[in-house]
Amino acid sequence: MLTRGTVRVTIQHMVKNVVEVCDLVVRRGRVRAVDGLSCSIAPGVVTGLLGPSGCGKSTLIRAVVGVQVLTSGTVEVLGLPAGDRRLRHRVGYVTQAPSVYDDLTVAENLRFFGRVLGVPADEAERCLEAVDLAAVRDRVVDRLSGGQRSRVSLAVALLGSPELLVLDEPTVGLDPVLRRDLWAMFHALADAGAAVLVSSHVMDEAQRCDRLLLMRDGRLLASDTPGDLLARTGTRDVEAAFLAIVEHAQEPKEVTA
């Protein structure tokens, strides 16, 4: 165990970051959904993107996947500009609302996206089992529960074992047992070398991440490990740490005002 941990840390230092976001600004309608944000995401770890609803998590994620029009700044993924055609089979993306075909069965959805990606046919089966949906494989998606549907969407993102997996609030509304299992799966994927970026507006999920990106109002509040974040802010949970950082940032403003 000890050697494995050491090896992983060493690899993290050697390998370049999978995602590099630099001075990113994204204007959506009237709001600056992402407002001058820089961050990086390393391979082999689960990075949590946490922040309240509307703070710009989905927008940042869309920028990383390359489906968002950027106002300024750059996003690089695996050394290429985000959205580059060479990245299209190396990045797995789960949108916030499950994006699968409601009128197809679970297996048909996976087979279709598998053919688009050009992965072997047995890959669909492997991904179904990874999200524990083998039992409902022949069920039409709109007959499934919300949690099952979002797992179908997750299974699609696992096809072809992408090097970067980007998941927008994949655990919202799921049964705690299932949520625990999914987080275990994210860590297994990271152990296998993938970079995993998971967003959530539920601060409790922070404990399950190797690294945290805390976001508020389109800006990055902190980029740290959960342990270091708590130590630095002298707090006992991430929600308190979040408050401490926000209040600390506001104090000088009030003085100058």
Partner: protein
């Protein structure tokens, strides 16, 4: 674009349609019912009215696949845009052409069955007079259907809801129906309307269909009058233009 992905998209659209039994039944049966109704109105009661079914049948054979495929495609692709599956597909190695041609192939296949049934009914059961080759009626009908698909793909980009998508029917389709020569011969229209009619795709579709049944066995290719091939070529050109416009509305990156 890759054949693997294009065919995967087409197969998937067909699987979705097969799941939706009611829509499939309506796609195949309704055109036949409408044509039978038309025949009943004009030809069943003794002496046929002026022109009658022989004059109105061909334009309707051209209109119905166009309208049906326009509606089905605009709603289906709107759903694909709003459900996020299009975003996901375009984040994968899918080309825009794969999506467009995949849809066109799938709906073209449905249109082939639909048109073959409608033509068979008109010609073999309802006694439509067809002086040209009957298979050409099916070819023209399929081209009309794919025209509807191409136009539907394009307009789905400008609708946010299915309600809006359906409103493109009175905006884009009904004027074409009014001006295609079904209600008034195109050369009898006021000058401006005649000129507009001369550049609308459905006018060429209706001309081609009427040409097969009346102008009949010309000296052209396959025993079809040359003017029919000309009209068909224009329809195909509109299909390609529609698909290109549609491609321009498929965006990998959105705001």
């Amino acid at each position: 674009m890759s054949p693997r992905i294009t065919l995967a998209v087409a197969a998937r659209v067909l699987t979705q349609l097969r799941r939706d039994r009611r829509t499939l039944a309506m796609l195949l049966v309704l055109p036949c019912l409408v044509l039978a109704l038309l025949w009943w109105m004009f030809d069943a009661g003794g002496a046929p009215l002026a022109g009658g079914f022989d004059a109105l049948g061909p334009p309707l054979l051209a209109l119905i696949p166009f309208i049906v495929m326009f509606l089905v495609t605009s709603v289906t692709t709107l759903r694909e845009r709003s459900s996020g599956t299009l975003e996901r597909l375009l984040a994968m190695p899918t080309g825009k052409g794969d999506v467009l041609v995949g849809y066109a192939l799938a709906f073209g296949a449905v249109a082939t069955v639909q048109s073959a049934l409608a033509v068979l009914l008109c010609w073999a059961v309802l006694g439509l007079a067809v002086s040209g080759p009957v298979w050409m009626l099916v070819v023209v009908a399929v081209a009309d259907a794919v025209l509807g698909t191409a136009l539907g793909l394009f307009v789905s980009a400008f609708a946010r809801t299915e309600f809006q998508a359906v409103q493109f029917m009175p905006a884009l389709v009904i004027p074409q129906i009014l001006l295609c020569g079904l209600f008034l011969p195109r050369d009898a229209m006021p000058g401006v309307l005649g000129a507009i009619s001369d550049v609308l795709p459905l006018s060429f579709a209706v001309d081609a269909m009427s040409g097969v049944s009346t102008a009949g066995g010309g000296a052209g290719l396959g025993g079809v009058a040359g003017s029919v091939w000309g009209d068909l070529a224009v329809v195909v050109a509109f299909v390609l233009a529609g698909l290109l416009l549609g491609a321009a509305t498929l965006r990998r990156r959105t705001a």
